[in-house]
Structure formats: C-alpha cells, structure tokens
Amino acid sequence: MISLFRKVSPIVLGALAALGIFSAVAAPAMAEGERFVLISHAPDSDSWWNTIKNAIKIAGDQMNVTVEYRNPPGGDLADMGRIVQQAAASNPDGIIVTIADFDVLSGPVRDAVDRGIPVITINSGTPEQSEKLGALMHIGQPEYAAGFGAGKKAKAAGVTSFLCVNHYITNPASVERCQGYADALGVELGSQMIDSQQDPSEIKNRVIAYLRANPDTNGILTLGPTSAHPTLAALDESGRAGDIHFGTFDLSSEIAKAIKADVIAFAIDQQPYLQGYLPVVILTNLVRYGVLPSGNINSGPGFVVKNNIALVEKYAGEFR
C-alpha cells in the first residue's frame, strides 16, 4: 500500500504542478489584484486626507485592486522620502505620491520611475516638477493659482487689507496660497500671514488679537478647517461675522453652514476625492490595457458657494 503510494504521489504532484503552470499561462490578460501604493506627506492627525483614503478604498473596490495608504506619522518629509524608497523596493504595480518637497523626494521618486514603476503625482507640487520627476501626470490643484483665484474674488468684493491664517506654515505650499492671495490683491505679503499653529483656542485668540490690532482688515483667508472653525468663532465673538469678506480652503460641515449663513463667501474645494480616485483608475487601466490620458488633470480649484452647496453638506469630511 505504502509502496504504491510512493510510486503514485510524484506523478500526482507533477500533474498538479503542470496544471498550475498551465492555468497561470492560460489566464486571461485582465489580471486582478494589482497593488498600488499612495504615499502622502500628511501627519496621521490631518483629517483632510480622510477623503482621499475613502476615495482610494472605493476605487480599489470598483477596479478590483488593492491600494495601500502610507504616510510619515509625524508629517516629517524626510521620513516620507524613506517611505517612498521602501514602497518602490516592494515592487508595486504603481505609485501615487505627493510632491511635498521636490528636493527631498526627487531621488526616491526618480528611482521608482527608473525601476519601471508607473508614478502619478497628486496634490502638492507643480506639473513642471511632476514632469521633471518622470511621473506620468499630475493630478492636483496648483496652490499659488488657487490662492490667486481666491484673491481675485476677494479683490472683486472690495478687499484691500487682509489676514491669512496659516496653521501649517512649515509646509511651503501653505505659504504659496497666502502669497497668491496677496499678489491678486496687489498687496505685499508681510505680517498679514500669521503662524497660528493648531490649537483652536490659540487660533481664535490670535485672530481676535490681529483684528484688534489691525482694525482696517476687511478680508480673511483661512487655509483649512483647522484654521477656519476657530476664525468663525473669533468673528462671532467680535461681532464681525458677515462683515468681513471671508474665504477659506477646503470644506467641512461647519464651513458649509457658514456659507449658507453668508459668513463665508466661498470655499476652495480641491476635490480631494478626485485626487484619490482618478490615479487608481488611470493606473489600473494603464497596467491592464496600456492606455493613459495625456496631459495633467486639475482636480481643483472648485469654488463652493451658496448655490452649489447641497452635496457638499451631505458628504463633508467623508467624500467632499
């Protein structure tokens, strides 16, 4: 019995192996389960990236691929460079990365491109930088241009002197937003951009202090919900809500409420959902069928004002 088994089992094993090889070779061209890695620069605590995480999950489910999200937990860009290197070493089918700092990331990203991994850049960075890195395309919102667009709207509304509440001043993109706004207004950017840090009570009191010390301020730009909500509270407390032209970046349910109440004039929506969703779809189709749209895609700026706010309200913080 055992000797029979010993004779038969190699044949059985060989047959199974052959079957396996054949099935792999004969598999249809449409593979499933490709793996992509999205690397962002945001610290764990940054809530804005939640939308992108939701978007890549939806895109992954729809396209039948896995998308991993990686980031430096504390927001350190040098850590981010190392994460890009590790991701490239793990040989994914594609990489999606933000150009948070061109100099820090150029080495790791170019290495990934040179290995033959398709790279799409999103969010931070310019299309020129993206091209220099050898990426396929850039999907994002040009920061300076977004700030400039906001400034143009503010100028049309009569703003002459402004305050820019910057809660993440260590990121160069944030300064570009304020610079764009200032340039559109034709004002030199100096102490109007305040380093407000992230504690809501501190932000609120700093805005009150600034408005008190500069009473001729008639325009405010905040760079996200972290700076917008305490600024709303500050304007409430000083009784100037609705009095000062107020524009903000990004969306949240409180910002939506303020737009409806005519306290905030507009919110600049980068549409981060598209920054997460589109790269996954594009990379999947590239890997499977070799197709690639030409040119870059501007996911924003979309200006959310009172008359296009309904969907925003429904999904603020989740998909919008």
Binding site: S191, D199, S201, R206, I208, A209, R212, G239, S253
Partner: protein
C-alpha cells in the same frame, strides 16, 4: 551668683542662628523667578503694546483665556513633577478625551453629561494605569507615558475614523443644548455683571456688526474659573496638607520617604490620575466651547505644560516647586504668545521668544533655589 549663672547659661544671641531679614524671607521663595518673569513680561508689553488693545477688556480676555488653558494642565503637571514623575501623554489624553465625548454624545446619542463623566472616568483610569505601570516596572515615567502618548493618539485617530469616518466630529453644541453639565465647562459666568457694567457705561459695547449693543466682553469663560479653582486647590493641597508633604517627600527621595512611612506608590498613582483629570478638564472645555472634537487636538501640549512648570521654578527631578509658580509660568506663556500678535511682531518669532524665556527662567530659578535650600 545667681545673676552670673543666668547670664552665662542664657546668651542673648545664639551665634549658630543666622539672621535673615523678614523682607528677604518673604522674597526668597520658589515662585520668585516666575514672579519676576511675569512682572518683566507685563512691563515689556506695557511698553511696546500699550495702545494696541492688548490691555482693553477684549484684549485681556484673549490672553487670559489662552493662559487659563495652560494653567489647567500646568497645575497637574506641577504636582506630578514635584512628586518626581513626568507625564508626556497629556496632549494625547486631551485629544482622546475630546473624541470620546464627541463620539458618545453625537454618534451614539448619549446625554452629554454622561459623555463627560465617561471621558473623565476613562482618562483617570488610564492615568492610574500609567502610574501603576511606572511603579510596577520601575521604568522611568518618561518612557511609560511616552508609550501612552503614541497609544492614545493612535486610538484617538482610529476610533474617530472607525466610528464616524471623519477625524473632526462636530455637532456637540447641538447635542449639549439643555444639558446641565455642559455649561460648567463651556459656558460663561457673571454675564449679568458685564451687562450691568455696559449699561452704566464702564464697558464698551459693539457699535456695529451682528452683536450691536452687546457688551464687548460678555462674561468670564468657565475655563478661567476652572484655572483659578485648580490653582487654589493645588496650592492648598501642596502647602497646607499632610498629603502635600507626602508629594514633596515622594519626589525628593522616594525610598527615604517610604522608610518614613509615606505611601509613595499611592501618592504617585493619585498624581497621575490628577494630571489625567486636568487634561480632561482642558479637553471638555475646548469641546464644549468649539462644539467639536478633532483627532489632532492637544499635540505638544505636554511639553508646554512642562515648560510652564519649569519657568515656575520646579525642579525637573522632583521634590521642589510651587503651584503658584507654575500658574505664573503658564501666564507668562499666554501673555507672550498673544502679546507678540498685538505688538505686530512676526508670528513665528514666538517660538524663539519662548526658548529664550525658558532658558533665562531656568537659570534664574536655579540661582534662587540655591539661595533657598542653601546648597552650593
């Protein structure tokens, strides 16, 4: 003779006793550095920012509120530091407590007073766990609480995203309407007094905008009330009770204190729980005031608390310090932060100022401490 014996046996002056003037005795105290610092800072800002509105009622409110925030966590950190331990998880505890309140009240629909109690209970349990681990393992509290800094921050972000798919949870203001406990943290008191002051003309009112006719300052925020209350409690506990002596003893030399019968373990665990309590007061006030909780609140606050305590004269290794000093250190912190805005100084320079003040304060405090304790 009798009179000669009396003269020889009872000298009028004992040369072993050092004479110290009463003024010097009153001045040389642990808080002296902080008092001098506060006076200097106020004089500095009076000189450069007197007419920018910094000392108007509205201006005073801005830096008082910011200072009150720092005072609340500084008192907890001070008592713990005097007992000889650090708590680096305070900032993460603030974020954690805030998210607990928001999730339980907004997402799960619990009444807000129950959410607040839950947050306090959880935080103090974690504080007790911190203390227990420090004592059981004998590891430096720096390490144990550093671990909890990461654990709590991770749980906060994970919990927020799992329960609500967002990391900023709003809607607490609506949930807290009609609640009996919420105004104790987020409300304002003495509104009647300020209204009266406005009516008799001593206080400005808004002349335009949405709050026209209302007094510029409408009340004292509960945050300030809590800060004052905690200072009084901490100071009396530390300087007037037996337990206060035990705190000093545990920090000065834990083993010697144990030999003297001080329940050092109990003292340290209670102080960790008190720090957690202070962090939760901070978090609850912020959540009630802003109506929302966020997973990134409280980052780096533990260091700001330790800085306030050190400016206030406490010794990093424990056994020496003062709650009044820590409160003054926190006040200096808040005034410098806000004052630089009023003075129109480039806002990023705030961090440079803070570092310089910290250095000067430590040098001054070391000198004062040597005078008090007589060490050389």
């Amino acid at each position: 003779m009798a009179s000669d014996v009396k003269k020889a046996g009872a000298p009028a002056e004992d040369e072993r006793v050092k004479e110290m003037s009463r003024f010097r005795k009153a001045m040389i105290r642990p808080e002296l550095g902080a008092i001098a610092g506060a006076v200097l800072v106020f004089m500095f800002f009076l000189a450069i920012a007197r007419d920018t509105g910094m000392f108007s009622p509205e201006g005073v409110m801005t830096w008082s509120t910011v200072s009150a925030q720092f005072i609340i966590i500084a008192v907890g950190a001070c008592l713990l530091m005097i007992a000889g331990e650090f708590d680096l998880s305070v900032g993460s505890m603030i974020g954690f407590a805030g998210i607990v309140i928001a999730i339980t009240s907004v997402t799960w629909g619990w009444p807000v007073w129950l959410s607040i109690f839950t947050a306090f209970a959880l935080a103090m349990a974690i504080g007790a766990l911190n203390g227990y681990l420090v004592i059981k393992t004998g590891l430096p509290s720096f390490i144990v609480t550093l671990a909890f800094l990461y654990i709590l921050r991770g749980l906060t972000i994970f919990g927020a995203i799992t329960a609500t798919r967002k990391t900023i949870i709003g809607g607490v203001r609506e949930a807290a309407e009609g609640d009996w406990l919420a105004p104790f943290f987020g409300g304002t008191i003495f509104t009647g007094l300020f209204q009266w002051l406005a009516d008799i003309g001593l206080l400005e009112t808004f002349s335009r905008g949405t709050r026209i006719g209302q007094p510029i300052v409408d009340g004292i925020p509960m945050l300030i009330v809590w800060a004052v209350g905690l200072i009084v409690f901490g100071h009396i506990l530390l300087t007037r009770t037996k337990f206060g002596n035990w705190i000093y003893a545990s920090g000065g030399d834990a083993q010697a204190a144990r030999y003297a019968g001080v329940p050092v373990n109990r003292v340290k665990i209670l102080m960790f729980m008190f720090t957690a309590f202070c962090a939760t007061v901070f978090a609850t006030s912020q959540v009630m005031e802003f109506g929302s909780a966020a997973a990134d609140r409280g980052i780096l606050k533990e260091f700001e608390a330790i800085i306030s305590v050190v400016i206030g004269g406490a010794l990093l290794t424990g056994g020496y310090g003062s709650v009044i000093g820590a409160a003054l250190g926190a006040l200096i912190f808040g005034v410098v932060q806000q004052g630089l805005f009023f003075a129109g100084v480039e806002s990023s320079l705030f961090r440079v100022f803070l570092g310089i003040i910290l250095l000067l304060a430590v040098i001054l405090n070391t000198y004062i401490r040597r005078m008090i304790t007589g060490e050389r």
